[in-house]
């Protein structure tokens, strides 16, 4: 029951119109080989859930530049003028979510929780259209879980079964999205024998990883 596949075959499984969660923070920790293959295969009308859209030509920014994305759910798009331009032109829908709320909403989906109850955004435009709840005299927003069809995860190391570990700030949203999508495709810099990652150092467990691909070496 090997999960190993090629980058091309993994991306073949993603249809036009798919809802994708993609790891990374300003390009750091994004699955760049999978992103390049999405562009090569010209997947269209994607919904992308990610922290940000990086910069033009970097990480998720490549999908924006190629006009493959119809909707973005992110905390920040300010560093990518193409995202802003497409949003203003009306060809790209952007849903802005506070970063900590985005993290918890993705986690809630992966952890089977019904909602996130957070103080962040109360009394701001983030509250618009949402329920609030009073807990002990304080008002909180009720934010709904966010799930996806696919999670594209970037790992530092994977073992043959799909256990994953991450490096430094390249971890960011990767472990969260790996729990929250129907199909999880992990791209790893190194793929090592089972048992090489000690049990206490596995961050994403193999039981949630569906496909495993090796990162192209020139594509960090």
């Amino acid at each position: 029951m090997s999960k190993s596949t090629t980058i091309q075959e993994a991306v073949d499984r993603i249809p036009d119109g798919a809802v994708l969660m993609i790891g990374g923070f300003m390009g750091c920790g994004s699955p760049n080989s999978l992103i390049d293959e999405l562009v090569r295969q010209d997947k269209k009308d994607l919904t992308v859930i990610a922290n940000d859209t990086a910069r033009p030509g970097v990480g998720i920014g490549k999908l924006i530049s190629a006009k493959l994305v119809k909707k973005v759910i992110a905390s920040h798009i300010g560093t990518n003028p193409e995202t802003q331009a497409q949003m203003i032109a009306g060809s790209l829908e952007v849903d802005l979510v506070p970063q900590g709320t985005l993290a918890e909403r993705v986690r809630a989906a992966g952890f089977g929780l019904g909602a996130v109850v957070t103080p962040t955004g109360v009394g701001t435009v983030v509250e618009d259209g949402k329920r609030t709840i009073d807990i002990g005299g304080r008002t909180f927003l009720v934010e709904l879980p966010i799930s996806a069809d696919f999670a594209l995860v970037n790992a530092k190391r994977a073992d043959y079964r799909g256990n994953l570990s991450y490096a430094f700030t390249a971890r960011n949203f990767n472990p969260l999205i790996a729990m929250a999508a129907a199909v999880v495709i992990a791209e790893a810099e190194d793929i090592v024998p089972v048992g090489s990652i000690e049990p206490d150092s596995v961050i994403t467990p193999h039981v949630v990883v569906d496909y495993l691909v090796a990162k192209e070496k020139d594509n960090g």
Binding site: Q84, V94, G123, F168, T169, I203
Partner: protein, 218 residues
């Protein structure tokens, strides 16, 4: 010294030994350069590390270690890395002692607007809303005016970052503390008069006999 350096040096005096501190991108990042000697502060980068430092001279950048702007950084011994949920658990859960953020507007209620200008600039709030809602202490570090117009207003006209009041506003002209009674002018910059601050401020400032001259970190 220029305005930004003055502001960064003044803010640096607010940090205490043992603090966990998050510095926003831009001017706030400069604060780290002016930490008083003997003060051990841990800096969080909300993309996933505490213990960040500037990339040491001559060090090879790692693609896996960047600041929240995506630029290469280094890390000190004892640094620790974490995912985005833990990052904001530290922020929202009351573990972050201080956040220093830039501002577009602050009003008499101490409310900050710093994340969008409708119709002109919609970058997204990033971590700002969580930081202002969650940090124990929120310091706004910004220029006192923009194109000659006051940024400290009776009421913010831009969308708020949080309804929670910030704690301190540091500009190149003044240090202003928020209180339940309103904004209190605490310090004026060297060479700046109280009247000049009042003239550059739309909000009502409470002025007591205790206004002192701003001191800054070395």
């Amino acid at each position: 010294m220029d305005d930004k350096t003055l502001i960064a040096r003044r803010v640096a005096l607010e940090l205490k030994d043992g603090d966990l501190v998050n510095l926003g991108i831009g001017l706030p990042t400069m604060v780290a350069q002016y930490l008083p000697v003997g003060i051990d502060v841990s800096f969080q980068s909300e993309n996933g590390i505490v213990g960040m430092q500037a990339l040491p001279v001559g060090a090879t950048p790692s693609a896996d270690l960047t600041d929240a702007g995506g630029a290469p950084i280094g890390a000190l011994p004892g640094a620790f890395a974490f995912d985005s949920a833990m990052s904001f658990g530290l922020i929202r859960g009351g573990h972050l002692d201080v956040t220093v953020l830039g501002g577009l507007q602050v009003d008499e209620l101490g409310q900050l607007a710093n994340w969008m200008v409708p119709g002109k600039m919609v970058p997204g709030m990033g971590g700002a809303m969580d930081l202002v809602s969650g940090a124990k202490r929120v310091i706004v570090a910004m220029t006192h005016t923009a194109k000659g117009q006051p940024k400290i207003l009776k009421r913010c006209t831009l969308p708020l970052t949080s309804i929670r009041s910030v704690d301190l506003i540091v500009t190149e002209m003044a240090v202003i503390r928020t209180t339940p009674e309103g904004l209190v002018l605490c310090e004026v910059a060297p060479g700046v008069t109280v009247d000049q601050v009042l003239a550059a401020t739309q909000a009502h400032l409470i002025v007591t006999d205790d206004v002192s001259v701003m001191s800054v970190a070395a």
